[in-house]
Amino acid sequence: MDGTIWLELVIKGFVLCFILLTGFAYLTLYERRALARMQVRVGPNRAGYQGLLQPIADAVKLIFKEELTPAKVYKVVFVLAPILTVVPSLVLAAVIPLGTSFVLFGRTITLYVANLNVGVLYLTSIASIAVYGITLAGWSSNNKYAMLGGIRASAQMISYELSLGLCFAIAIVMGNSMNLVDIVNMQKDMWFAVTQPVGALIFLIVTLAEVNRAPFDMPEAEQELTAGFHSEYSGMKFALFFMAEYQKMIVISMIAATLFFGGYREFWFLKDTFFSVDQNWFLGPIYLLLKVIVLLFFMIWIRATWPRIRYDRLMAFGWKVLLPLSLVTVFITAAGILLAQELNNQLFIYSIPVLSIICAMVAVGLIYRGLRRKSDGRI
């Protein structure tokens, strides 16, 4: 390894962090404006043109806010918790390919920080680490509401991580690799979201729960827990939690785009035209950005329209609906691909979406029946 490789890695890391931080700042504005539109309001539009300077004003406010450390907190963990929440959300993005590669000063520069062979496993391991920050924040605040929020968050994240892992398995089976670059390249002919729509849908639902977004935002349900796990945090420490949540939204949308929506690739029917990333490398990041913006819009839309799910129903939904359904979809996907390979018959590939949609409809029908019956709090 010569020095320039190190330099390249450091620059890429900085650029990635810069992208995520800017993305976080403007995602807050995007969310506020979009929510305002849906609620027939205007939203913040005073600072700068159409409110474009609003994130900077917010940041300045948060930095200069007084920071309180309550007297009876467990100090070390109290300080550690926001850091433990932010770092995984930044580190996750390292394996996500943003595009193909380009040549600069005779060097081929690839548009990803790390090209891991076990990329998908890396994502699961970092995602499982990410629970700590919130749990510890809840515990170290030494406050009943915060504690309840932290416990809810960890229970919810552990429960939904199982379905998340199975969705990763679907992408691994379909991409025939754990390397995210390979998975993206396998989607040249067809996005996985088309071949396995149920898998993509489960992934999107589960990620909402993983980042504690509405309608799964029980850990910070204002009506019952004041502000949940970050009740005792103020100033910059609170800003870190805020930042982590929005960065996780961005990163998880990037992962969803990479695993199921073709990553930095164009639409499959544009693959041999001018719009292909194989012919113009600079289109890669643009495509990914557009996909992320669309996925984020869905998250905001859901927040604007859906009420919060009651906690026991949330757990029941995770364990009794999503987990069995994702197990079945993994089975259908693997069996379809294996049969297509062994019998050399592409027809089996087409059976994957049909069968999995039938299973999903059965699941929806069962939920509907369960809710129609006199419910005793279970789905």
Binding site: N117, L121, Y122, T124, I129, I158, E161
Partner: protein, 172 residues
Amino acid sequence: MTSDLIVFLVLSLVAVAAALGMVLSRNAVYSALFLVLNFVTVAIFYLILGAPFIAMSQITVYAGAIMVLFLFVIMLLGAESLAPSEVLPWQKWLARGLAFALIAELIYLFWNTRPEIITTPGLVVNSMDSLRAMAMSLFNDFLLPFEVTSILLLVAMVGAIVLSKREKAGQK
């Protein structure tokens, strides 16, 4: 090679310190956190040895899932601070004896092993092939142990559910 050695030395210091911290700290939550740190350093050791799959599963399974459950239980029970419980008198001496036996065994092992035996395993490491090779041997050669393990885990899970159910029925 020297950079590997430096990383190894620093990491082993951290690992030992984390292990000691885990045993010595009086607060169960701190103990759990030290244990997480220890697991993460062990995972980095696996990475240095060229076994990324094991490293990542170590973090996912141990540092992620299992330790989060530990923390969860500690917090739910409010068992953070250890009360000075009564110590069994013979337990201390038994523990000391066993610890000495373990140390003696380790020393014997190190003195009598030629260094060329302790090398990195000669498998296909550092590529997707290693993953595939592992999966092949797991699901072909070791299929029976794998299935037996999974049934064992299933039995444990069912047992836990049965136990908790019966308690609830007794309360009613």
